[in-house]
Symmetry: C2
Subunit: 225 residues, 2 copies
DNA sequence: GATATAAATGAATGCCATTCATTTATTGGT
DNA sequence: ACCAATAAATGAATGGCATTCATTTATATC
C-alpha cells in the first residue's frame, strides 16, 4: 500500500549504508519523543499511539524497536539518570556532594514520579547510566573514608529518601488541610497552622527535605573512619 | 429515574431483609473485597470487573457507591492507615515510638506501593484514619519537646523515607547485579559484593532502612528543647 | 396499595497496549 | 544489474479496561 511516509521526526541520517533503512525509529529518537510528550502532556498523555503519532509512524511500528511500553519507560529512566548531577563527588567535600546529588536527583524525579515504581524494581544490570552514577557515588563514599560494607546501605537509604521526597514535591499546597475534621485533630491542625504555609514554593515539602537530608548526612557522616 | 450520588452517611438504607439480590454493597464491603482481591491477585488483579465479580454484582453497580476506581483506592488506603501502629507515641520514649511507627508503616505499604502515588497527592481532608494517625504522631512529638513549627516537616520527612523504603522492600535480590558491565564499575561492584547478600531476608534493604531511620531519629531528636 | 427512590442490570463507548499477516524498502551476494 | 534475504512499517484485528446510560427491579414511605 502506501510507502512509509517520510515522517517529520528529528531525522538526520536517513540514507546510510550497512543498515536496513537507517530508519526514523531508534532508541534515541523514541526516548526523545517520549520525553517531549511527557513534558507536554504528562504521563497520562504518554500512550503508544501518541508516541507513534509524534514520530509520524504507526503504533505497531514501535514494536520493532521496543518490546513494550515498560521498555519505553526504561529508556526514559536511563536518560533521566544521565542528567542527575553527581559531579560533586569528585570536587566537593562529601557532605556537599551528597547534598548536591540528592537535590538534583529529587528535582529530576519529582516530575517523573510514575517512573519511580519502575526503577525501584528494575535490576541495574542493563542500565549503564544508572550504573555509572552508582560507581561515582560509591567512589565518593570510599574517598570520604566509609567502610566498604556500609556504602551500599547508605546509598539505598538516601535513594529511598529522595524518591519519597520526589512524591511529596508535587503534592498540593492544601494537602494538610484537615477541613471539617479540624476539631478532632487539634494538635495536628495547630502544628500545620504554625507553618504559615503561604510563603515559599513548596512548604513544607522543601523544608522537610532539607531537614531530613541534613539528618541523614550527619548520621551517615559519623560512620567514616 | 435518576439515582444521583451514593449519598454519604445515610444510616437506615439497608437494614431490612430482602435486597435486590444477594448483593451487599457499601463502602465497608467494597473495601474488604478490594483488599481480598489485592492480596490474592495483586494490584494488576484489582479491576472494577473483578471487584464486582467478587461481590457478586455487575461492574456498573459499583458506581452507585464509588465515583471511580481511584475512589476505591482511597478506601483501601484509609483502611490500611488504620492498621499502622502509632500506639507507641502514648507509651514509649519518642525514639522508640518513631521506630515502631516507621517499621509498621513501611511494612504495611511495602505490599501496597501502587497506593503511594495516590496518597502522596491526596488531601488529607476527608481521610479520618489518616488524620487520626497524624494527630497521634503530632501529640507524641509535642510531648517529646519539639517546637511546634518543626513537627510537620519532621513528619513529612519521615513519611517520605518510609514510602521510599516501601518501594525498596520488594526489590529483587539481584537488583544490584551489575552483570557484564561489572568491569566498568569496579568500586560499586566490590561494594555490593562486600555485603555478602544471601544471608538475611532483604539485604541490603532492611539494613539500609534501619540505618537511615537511626540517622533521622538522631538528627531530629536534637531539635527538642 | 400506589408511588418515589435507591440500587442493579446489560449493553454500549472509547481508550489502551499489543499482535499479526502483509507490504515496502533496502541491502549484500552474485 | 538482478535476486533473495531481511529489517521495518502498515492497517486491521484482539482483548482488556474504566466508565456511562437507559432501563428494570426491589425497597421504603405515605
Amino acid at each position: 500500500m502506501p510507502a512509509p511516509t517520510p515522517a517529520s521526526g528529528e531525522s538526520k541520517s536517513r540514507r546510510r549504508a550497512g543498515r536496513p533503512m537507517a530508519a526514523i525509529l531508534d532508541h534515541a529518537g523514541i526516548t526523545l519523543a517520549a520525553l517531549e510528550l511527557i513534558n507536554k502532556k504528562g504521563y497520562d498523555g504518554l500512550t503508544m499511539a501518541a508516541l507513534a503519532r509524534t514520530l509520524g509512524v504507526a503504533p505497531s511500528a514501535l514494536y520493532n524497536h521496543v518490546a513494550s511500553k515498560d521498555d519505553v519507560l526504561r529508556l526514559v529512566e536511563e536518560d533521566l539518570m544521565s542528567k542527575v548531577d553527581f559531579g560533586g563527588f569528585r570536587t566537593l567535600p562529601w557532605e556537599d556532594a551528597v547534598r548536591q546529588w540528592a537535590y538534583s536527583y529529587r528535582g529530576i524525579f519529582a516530575r517523573h514520579t510514575p517512573l519511580i515504581s519502575v526503577i525501584a524494581v528494575l535490576p541495574v544490570t542493563d542500565a549503564p547510566q544508572t550504573l555509572s552514577m552508582y560507581e561515582a557515588v560509591t567512589e565518593g563514599f570510599l574517598r570520604a573514608g566509609f567502610p566498604e560494607e556500609q556504602i551500599i546501605p547508605c546509598i539505598v537509604a538516601l535513594e529511598a529518601y529522595v524518591f519519597g521526597a520526589a512524591f511529596d514535591a508535587n503534592a498540593p499546597a492544601d494537602i494538610f488541610d484537615s477541613g471539617r475534621l479540624a476539631e478532632s485533630t487539634p494538635h495536628f491542625t495547630s502544628a500545620v497552622r504554625s507553618l504559615g504555609g503561604e510563603s515559599k514554593s513548596n512548604y513544607p515539602s522543601d523544608l522537610a527535605f532539607s531537614m531530613g537530608l541534613d539528618a541523614l548526612i550527619a548520621g551517615f557522616g559519623a560512620l567514616r573512619h
